[in-house]
């Protein structure tokens, strides 16, 4: 219903020839939908004398007050598109039958043109809205894809694959891998209800919270509890997040997991497929939730498959869902090794049809414990193969760097580092761990400093991580000994300088609250 109905008073000569003093503009009066006047105008179809109208209508009163004498409805396809309001004739004569015919004829030509204009306006508005939605989807996709892992974890004895394909109206799927040190890998898969930018923002928030909580707890249940408490006050109403979080001890093959309402993972074992069941409410629904925690030990050859509901809830042309049973059946089939992702995606496409628009995001994470023979085969070359020599933690108590030095020295003992190079490495490790205790963890004895010792044929890499990820490490400067001896500067400030001088390379990185210093010492070199 058009609300703007406006007409100038009719003039009997061309407007340019009419003196301004004899023209009068009638302000537009809207006719509300359902007003009795609307019914009258639609049923009459032609000019209507206001004086003849006896209706209980607010619009009529306004129209009368505005000085309207004649209303000419503009009707198209049974819809009142507008109306011409005419005041009294300048000649003060009543409107003649000819006048009415002329106005009726004019209205019948104007109405279709107005209808076309109305449709054009609507289409323009729809196009603009489509463009806005498209842009929003692109932003959502960008947020989501920026935050998904760029690289898959590379762990001897394990093969990790991941697949993510967003729906056009991007959903809130996400997955993540978190290196927890000491050979432990955190695996996350989650799904935010809702789509688009709101879902992407909640996904980003949830991911950050998980990354912040993960290094602080060795229990997946505790991680989910912490994230739930943090996200409940932040999440928009009617949104929540399903999430499964597992910690894999890559040495022992032990998987500890907790589930906040996400699809159950499957594990294909030598005996068949099992579900990893643990109960818990989705994140963000209500505070003070607790989460079951379960343990499963993966043997060589076992394959764990984590998925999002974009797979199980995909429909075929007959509107039947793919479902858990079909997915479980697909996981059970043994195909080409390492091809689980393609097998599931292929089976899903057979079900839905390739040309059909995907209904929801599809995410698959596959974690396979490989046999040692496969590890050897998959290694790029003997030189590039990295061996984990030690992985341990020391609590943040002053002096514990000495324990770390002893453990590292023991771990690299068989590598044949020259005596002086070994001593340099020990000093660098001591200084790095000391910094982690004092500056990273601020001497908080409840926080660990994690140390990982790895070696290739060419080099030893020591990764020291603490919880001071948001702290800025100053650039290394050569201490001014003269100034220190003259009492102009503190005698301290040697740590970073020494570390840099002792090893061949120092790399520093921050990962969501975790601060990591990596020391690289070539196995062959001077001294």
């Amino acid at each position: 219903m058009r609300k703007r109905r406006k007409t100038d008073e009719t003039v009997e000569t061309a407007p340019s020839a009419v003196p301004e003093s004899v023209t009068q503009v009638i302000d537009p009066v809207a006719i509300p939908a359902g007003d009795p006047l609307e019914t009258v105008l639609l049923s009459t179809g032609g000019p209507v004398e206001v004086a003849d109208l006896e209706l209980e209508s607010e619009a009529i009163s306004e129209i009368r007050d505005a000085g309207v004498e004649l209303i000419v409805p503009l009707v198209g396809q049974g819809e009142l598109l507008g109306a011409l309001y005419l005041g009294h004739r300048l000649s003060d004569q009543p409107y003649s039958t000819d006048d009415r015919h002329l106005l009726g004829s004019l209205a019948s030509q104007v109405a279709p043109a107005m209808k076309v204009a109305q449709l054009v306006r609507e289409q323009q508005a729809e196009a603009k809205e489509r463009e806005r939605i498209q842009q929003e989807m692109e932003v959502a996709a960008l947020i989501q894809q920026t935050l998904l892992p760029k690289e898959l974890p590379s762990i001897p004895g394990w093969k990790v694959d991941a697949f993510y394909r967003p729906a056009r109206a991007v959903g809130g799927d996400f997955y993540d891998f978190i290196d927890l040190g000491r050979g432990r890998l955190g695996v996350v898969i989650g799904d935010v209800t809702d789509k688009g930018v709101p879902a992407a923002l909640v996904m980003a928030t949830c991911r950050s919270m998980l990354r912040a909580a993960a290094p602080r707890h060795s229990s997946p249940s505790a991680v989910l509890m912490e994230v739930n408490e943090a996200i409940v006050p932040e999440i928009p109403p009617a949104m929540f997040v399903t999430c499964l979080y597992a910690i894999i001890d890559t040495g022992a093959g032990e998987v500890v997991f907790a589930n906040a309402g996400h699809n159950l993972p499957y594990v294909r074992t030598a005996e068949g497929v099992i579900e990893l069941r643990a109960t818990g409410m989705p994140l963000g629904l209500m505070p003070e939730m607790t989460y079951d925690e379960k343990v499963y030990r993966m043997d060589s050859g076992d394959v764990m498959v984590l998925t999002s509901d974009g797979i199980t809830e995909a429909h075929n042309p007959d509107r039947e869902m793919y479902g858990f049973g079909r997915l479980m059946g697909r996981v059970a089939k043994r195909g080409k090794d390492g091809d689980m992702v393609n097998a599931i995606v292929g089976d899903l496409e057979d079900w839905t049809g390739v040309e059909v628009e995907q209904e929801d995001d599809i995410t698959i994470v596959v974690v396979r414990r490989t046999s040692s023979a496969e590890d050897a085969a998959s290694a790029f070359s003997p030189d590039s193969r990295e061996e984990l020599l030690a992985s341990f933690a020391v609590s943040s108590i002053e002096g514990n760097e000495v324990l770390a030095i002893a453990r590292v020295a023991e771990a690299v003992g068989s590598l044949g580092l020259g005596g002086l190079r070994l001593e340099r490495l020990k000093t660098a490790v001591g200084e790095t761990v000391m910094n982690a205790i004092e500056h990273g963890n601020e001497n908080d004895s409840s926080l660990d400093v994690n140390v990982e010792v790895k070696a290739t044929a060419a080099a030893v890499r020591i990764r020291v991580s603490d919880h001071g990820g948001d702290k800025v490490i100053p650039d290394v400067e050569t201490p001014d000994l003269e100034a220190k001896l003259a009492g102009e500067q503190t005698p301290r400030g040697w740590g970073l300088f020494l570390i840099e001088k002792m090893v061949d390379e120092v790399r520093i990185e921050n990962q969501d609250g975790t601060h990591i210093v990596e020391l690289v010492m070539n196995r062959k070199g001077d001294a």
Binding site: G399, E401, V402, L403, I405, A406, A409, G419, L420, E423, R424, K426, T427, G430, E431, M434, P479, L481, K484, L485, A486, G487, T490, P491, R492, G493, W494, G495, F497, L498, K501
Partner: protein
């Protein structure tokens, strides 16, 4: 490396004093080493730091040594060191401590 604490003994000789350090030289060594220096500086001659029994020196220990060296320089006292392992000799060179204190191969060279 045992992570043992720090001990210090001062031997005063006709030629000067020897401060014998043992264990771990870190920030915890500050009080004992400074007290030892004060005692050593009561006799004339060179003050020698004996590192033969030192197992571990970290950056906070370097700072303690810098502090003692600063006191000695302010008092115009000569300080030397001996008994450093090859690694810690290198550390003293990198930190340039060896530019300000003579590093001897052993005690005889110093005294």
């Amino acid at each position: 490396m045992s992570g043992q604490g720090f001990e210090v003994v001062v031997n005063q000789t006709k030629k000067g004093s020897i401060i014998k350090l043992s264990g771990t030289v870190n920030r915890a060594a500050k009080g004992k080493l400074e007290a030892a220096y004060e005692l050593a500086s009561t006799t004339d001659g060179q003050i020698l730091l004996d590192f033969r029994q030192v197992e571990y020196i970290n950056s906070t220990g370097i700072a303690v040594i810098v502090g003692v060296l600063a006191k000695a320089r302010a008092a115009d006292r000569d300080i030397g060191a001996f008994g450093l392992t090859e690694h810690y000799r290198e550390v003293f060179e990198i930190t340039r401590l060896s530019d300000f204190m003579h590093i001897y191969e052993d005690a005889k060279a110093g005294n």
